[in-house]
């Protein structure tokens, strides 16, 4: 790989042991993927935050980094943690867990990383720009950055996104190269995608069938950001799909030369039904509703607020929405948050159903409108879920 003089000095240890290690990490990942150079990144989004997912090994790594007092060199922010940083007790998180979680976040903070604790940085002012090179690691945010904003990022791991945040470079391979961003399958969407959960079902269906292949969707009429984020998240979860195009909607779609794509598939009513049927696992009553995978926007929450109207959540049912602290602190949010809490809707920030330990421990039967959440919650067999539209959920759990 070609390295500039500065990059070579970083690799040779001129800037200390930790920088040398992290540079080697980025360079070697590049070499394995046939990259010939490093490229500067605009910013980084770093996963590996919840103590539930990283466990104790991360502290050894932090110790190595803190010896050299390394800091990030580009704007960087964090994925969700394993708990609401203020209301963790209410969630059922134990003190021992909370203590480790706070220590992890403190380490990241000392490196100069903004503790956003969200999987939707683009909802709190961190929207990437067309053509930006990034090192993002949360899989749903990666697909939004690539597809919705036309920025360029591979699906980084926690360690590689942190390394890139610190050294300021990533290796030039994969989705950083224009030739790897073209779709190779056309998906004709022949059924209604009126509900957010329909976008989720489409993404789940596609990812499962065409692992890692970039699709070009036709026939999708409405593409609100909250719908596209459900589509991308589900595809990334079931099939590691990191980029996609939607005809007439996503920024790179019009550049696609359709003549080269010979593989055409169709997504019909029966395919959609198949996903809902797969996640129709609860035979008795559910005791928990989880919304906000990816993190809910203000509009998502406003919809719940207006659908609920004069009704409240039924006794015996926990109704949890996950979002980011930054959004919930806005004046717009404050207008309806208190009212929702009175009606039995809890809005937790900084975390989500996938990365907190309490759901697997304390709950069994769960309703959600997110196929990504459904996928992760049921993967180890602990939980059973029903995937429903938000409207259907609200009808069933309010009175």
């Amino acid at each position: 790989m070609f390295l500039t003089k500065e990059q070579q000095m970083m690799l040779d240890g001129e800037y200390g042991f930790a920088i040398a290690k992290l540079t080697k990490l980025v360079v070697k990942i590049g070499e394995v993927n046939d990259a010939t150079k490093l490229i500067p990144i605009k910013n980084a989004q770093i996963a590996g935050v919840s103590y539930f997912t990283v466990g104790d090994p991360i502290f050894s790594f932090f110790n190595m980094l803190s010896k050299d007092k390394v800091k990030v060199s580009v704007p960087s922010w964090l994925n969700p943690a394993g708990m609401d940083m203020e209301r963790w007790e209410e969630m059922g998180v134990l003190e021992s867990f909370a203590d480790k979680q706070r220590r992890i976040i403190q380490h990241y903070k000392e490196m100069g990383i903004e503790t956003t604790l969200t999987c939707t940085p683009y909802l709190i002012g961190h929207q990437p720009k067309l053509g930006d090179h990034l090192a993002w690691s949360e899989s749903s945010a990666v697909s939004m950055a690539n597809a919705y904003y036309g920025a360029r990022t591979n699906r980084e791991g926690g360690p590689s996104s942190l390394a890139s945040a610190i050294i300021g470079y990533t290796a030039d391979y994969g989705l950083h190269k224009v030739e790897n961003r073209v779709p190779s399958i056309i998906v004709d969407v022949n059924t209604s995608t009126a509900n957010f959960s329909d976008f989720s079902a489409l993404g789940y269906w596609y990812g499962e069938k065409f692992h890692g292949v970039i699709p070009y969707f036709k026939g999708i009429k409405n593409t609100h950001i909250d719908q596209v984020k459900m589509l991308g998240a589900a595809m990334a979860a079931s099939g590691s799909v990191a980029h996609f195009h939607i005809e007439n909607h996503t920024p790179e779609a019009r550049k696609v030369d359709m003549n080269y794509i010979t593989n055409i598939v169709s997504f019909d009513e029966k395919d959609k039904k198949q996903v809902y049927d797969h996640f129709n696992q609860i035979k008795e009553d559910a005791n928990l509703v989880v919304i906000g995978c990816p993190h809910s926007s203000l509009e998502d929450i406003q919809y719940i607020h207006s659908t609920l109207g004069e009704k409240s959540i039924k006794e015996g049912i926990e109704f949890w929405i996950f979002s980011s602290q930054k959004l919930m602190q806005t004046d717009d949010a404050k207008k309806f948050l208190t009212n929702l809490e009175v009606k039995g809707v809890k809005i937790f920030t900084d975390t989500c159903m996938v990365v907190t330990p309490v759901i697997r421990r304390n709950y069994k039967n769960i309703l959600t409108n997110s196929a990504k959440a459904a996928f992760y919650l049921t993967r180890d067999g602990t939980n059973k879920v029903n995937l429903l539209s938000l409207f259907e959920i609200m009808e069933g759990v309010s009175e």
């Binding site: 290690k21 080697k24 990490l25 070697k28 990942i29 070499e31 394995v32 996963a47 590996g48 997912t53 990283v54 466990g55 104790d56 090994p57 991360i58 050894s60 790594f61 190595m64 690691s137 980084e156 791991g157 926690g158 360690p159 590689s160 390394a163």
Partner: protein, 136 residues
């Protein structure tokens, strides 16, 4: 004695005994970073330790946080001597670099078939080869 060609990723020349996983390994949730013991009940090596062994596996899977598990193994002095994969992915590359564990991949054959648990191996990343001395 049989010799196979490999691609070196993290350099180092070591000799040791092979421990072969026939299936992809998830380091996060699949290996205990304090003991080196394989905790994935679906793996035939369940309960065995990779500490001090040359660990041979087809590829890594699961969370990218697995890299921190590999680093944790070395901090806790229970790291494998070296890693041989058919295909080294980002998780294992990052982990091996952080932990400074020799890592090679892309042999000219399926290493999980040509190497058996207990075989004596010599890895030479300068010559880009692994020598296999079959167990009796």
């Amino acid at each position: 004695m049989k010799t196979i060609k490999i691609r070196p990723i993290v350099e180092g020349s070591v000799e040791g005994e092979a421990l072969v996983s026939p299936i992809p390994i998830s380091f996060l949730g699949g290996v205990d970073s304090e003991t080196g013991i394989i905790t994935d009940s679906e793996n035939p090596l369940f309960g065995e330790s990779i500490a001090g062994k040359i660990f041979v596996f087809p590829e890594s899977k699961g969370s990218t946080v697995g890299s921190y598990v590999i680093y944790g193994l070395s901090v806790n002095n229970v790291a494998p001597l070296a890693l041989i994969a058919n295909k080294a992915e980002t998780i294992v590359v990052a982990g091996a670099i952080l932990a400074n564990i020799p890592l090679v991949d892309k042999a000219d054959q399926d290493v999980t078939l040509s190497i058996k648990t207990g075989d004596k191996l010599v890895i030479d990343t300068t010559e880009e080869i692994v020598k296999i001395k079959k167990v009796e």
